[in-house]
């Protein structure tokens, strides 16, 4: 069965890049523009993994992760946080909120796929 990955980002170009790369590699991709949108969409779909940006309007990445971990369906799925290098302390915050790992921006499609394969298999 094809696995579904949700990409949560307020930047359309990042969402597009993530979607295209993962679809090429055979994953289903769901897009959400921010944390609130992601939570709304995840209620009605089975998602195997979430890749979320950190800074977003309405609900940021950290809050999204906390909310996802409260949802039994999402309690153990891998969640990857997109960060920039200046946010080293955010990685730690993300980890304690329940993030599985992180990807530092900028990243290229190969790096993205390497991380997805690492945590999702």
């Amino acid at each position: 069965m094809r696995k579904t990955v949700m990409t949560v980002d307020d930047s359309a170009s990042v969402r597009q890049m993530v979607s295209f790369t993962l679809q090429q590699a055979g994953y289903e991709v769901l897009e959400a523009v921010d944390g609130r949108d992601a939570l709304a969409k995840i209620g009605s779909a089975t998602v195997n993994m979430v890749i979320t940006d950190l800074n977003m309007p309405n609900m940021d990445g950290i809050s999204l992760i906390r909310n996802l971990r409260k949802n039994p369906a999402c309690k153990f799925i891998p969640i990857i946080l997109l960060t920039t290098e200046s946010q080293a302390e955010k990685k730690q915050e993300g980890k304690s909120a329940g993030a599985t790992g992180w990807i530092v921006k900028p990243f290229n499609p190969e790096q993205l796929l390497a991380v997805v394969r690492k945590v999702l298999g």
């Binding site: 930047s11 990042v14 971990r69 290098e85 980890k95 993030a99 790992g101 992180w102 900028p106």
Partner: protein
Amino acid sequence: MMDNYRETFIEEAKELLAELESALLDLEKSPYDEDLVGRVFRAMHTIKGSGAMFGYDDIASFTHHVETVYDHVRKRELSVDKNLISLTLEACDHIRKMVDKRGEISAEDKSAAKRIRSSFKNLLPAEDVSVQKRTATPAVSNSDASEKATGNITYRIRLSPSRDIFANGTNPILLLDELRSMGLCSIAAYTAEVPLLNDINPEACYTRWDIVLTTSRGINAIKDVFIFVEDDCELKIDIIDEGHLSDVNDSFKKLGKILVERNDIKPDDLKNVLSSQKRIGEALVALGVIAPEKVHSALVEQQHIRGVSQERQSRERTASVRVPAGKLDRLINLVGELVTVKSHLSQIASSLLTPELIRIAEEVESLTEALRGNTMSMRMLPIGTTFSKFNRLVRDLSSELGKDINLITEGAETELDKTVIERLNDSLIHLIRNSIDHGIEPPEKREGNGKPRQGTIRLGAEHSGANVFIRITDDGAGLDAAGIRAKAVEKGLIAADAILSERELFALIFAPGFSMVKEVTSVSGRGVGMDIVKRAIDALQGTIDIASKNGRGTTITLKLPLTLAIIDGLIVKIGETFFVLPLSVVDECVELTEEDAAAAHCQELANIRGELVPYISLRQRFAISGAPPAIQQIVTTRIRGNRFGLLVDQVIGEHQTVIKPLGRFYRGVEEVSGATILGDGSVALMIDIAKLIQNAENDE
């Protein structure tokens, strides 16, 4: 694909800049509105993040400075004032300019950017500036690139994840899978801590693992596997094998040593159990100093290392590559073509007299020589493999015939072209059979003649120049010259009053239909055999020589060229036609003037340093029209101990010759053994000198 993203990014950046501008203007009116600060920060953040992703590093790094300032504003370490807003708007304009120009900006704009950047920096608290330096901690590190490609190293990885590792969405099995994909991997799991079903918390991880991994990757690549979990795990990575071939008598570590190395037992415990006679693992468990699982894990490691070192040893042993013979033949063919082209090049270079071209031609020549030598050596096999087969042959045949024979082989390491060896096999069998059957006498007869009961056959090979000599020597009865003569007369091979040297007489046994024994045995005596041997050796461009002493034994010497594919030839010219003579049989070249020829009264004899040498005019023999030049050349050769000359117009010189067989239609032509293509593309026929002289003699 990337261009699509870039277009989307440009569109998005423009929207964000518009959003940023309106947020900034709002912020100027209400400078303490946190939501507005957040909007500004996020817009900057997104421009920076996606700018960097799509290759607009200038945009990203410039925006980074602005973003940093607003991070401080967000943390209330800086307050918003008119100055900041104007500066940010200016920055906005600059970003827009960079976006419009796809990141390619003029020098003037660059200096403006520098000014804006330093103004922003001035707003920051002093100690913060240094933090702006990029801290390079990429999540997906490219550590592989920096690691030297070393041999395979074996690591011991001890992984004990924290109980709540699942809560972060981490699946430890995937980590193990990732390690497995890196090389040879043995994993031992510790499951003793898993509680009974009643007490188990299904959301907790109770298992630990010991992993032994042999990989070409460096330690950083292994650490990268655990990059997301290093804080949630106890992780210990040790190198336990550097990839060197371990000593032969210490090819793997003892179990006890592994356990001590792992700190699983104390050295004293080891000493205690070593004195007992039990297997060390069982003894340690029985002593209660170690859990069975730890012993199991150490055994897994021992097994792994043993496997790795065995594999490494077998790899060292087989440092050769098996290649299908067909590929080698093709290579030889190609080298042959190359030799032809090389000759062509040398010929043209020397006729053009261009120094540079000559230099290149000479380089090509020496490279081709080296390549030829190398390629030829690949086809060379030690003849010993063939020799060893004969031990069995001699043993079986001699017991069948009631003889006692010892085979001694010498020079088994002598190398010879594979094709030559293969085609030589049957001839050698024939010759050895002959020695056993006709040569070596029965033991009683030998004793009667004062010889040891056991006969000896020596089979030897040795190199000599471009040839290999193979000698088959027996200490048997030797050839009966009188008997051969009588037989030859009886068969009509020679006249009854013919005067033949012993050597010529012996050569008669190679005549078709000649057989020495009166009774046909199962082994030999049908009169087929020796003439077949002769033909096979001829086909290999080789010669056979017999020496024999009655009652003392016989020696048959085969002289074979090292290889068949390419030989050194001497090119000669008659009229406009070129011929090639195998250089190996050429003795010397002498001139023959018209006066010399006239002095010999058309006897076709040349006086070479007092010796009269008969010669054959190739012009006459091959019916080439036209008059010979005033000074002709005689190429002399030695056939069966006698000198002969071949009269040609001109001797051109030495030439490496790739021998191609003649087409089916010309197969019947006796005096030509093949053809070669010369440098200028013309064909030269290869003369079979032995056949030519033999035919010429018969004609007379």
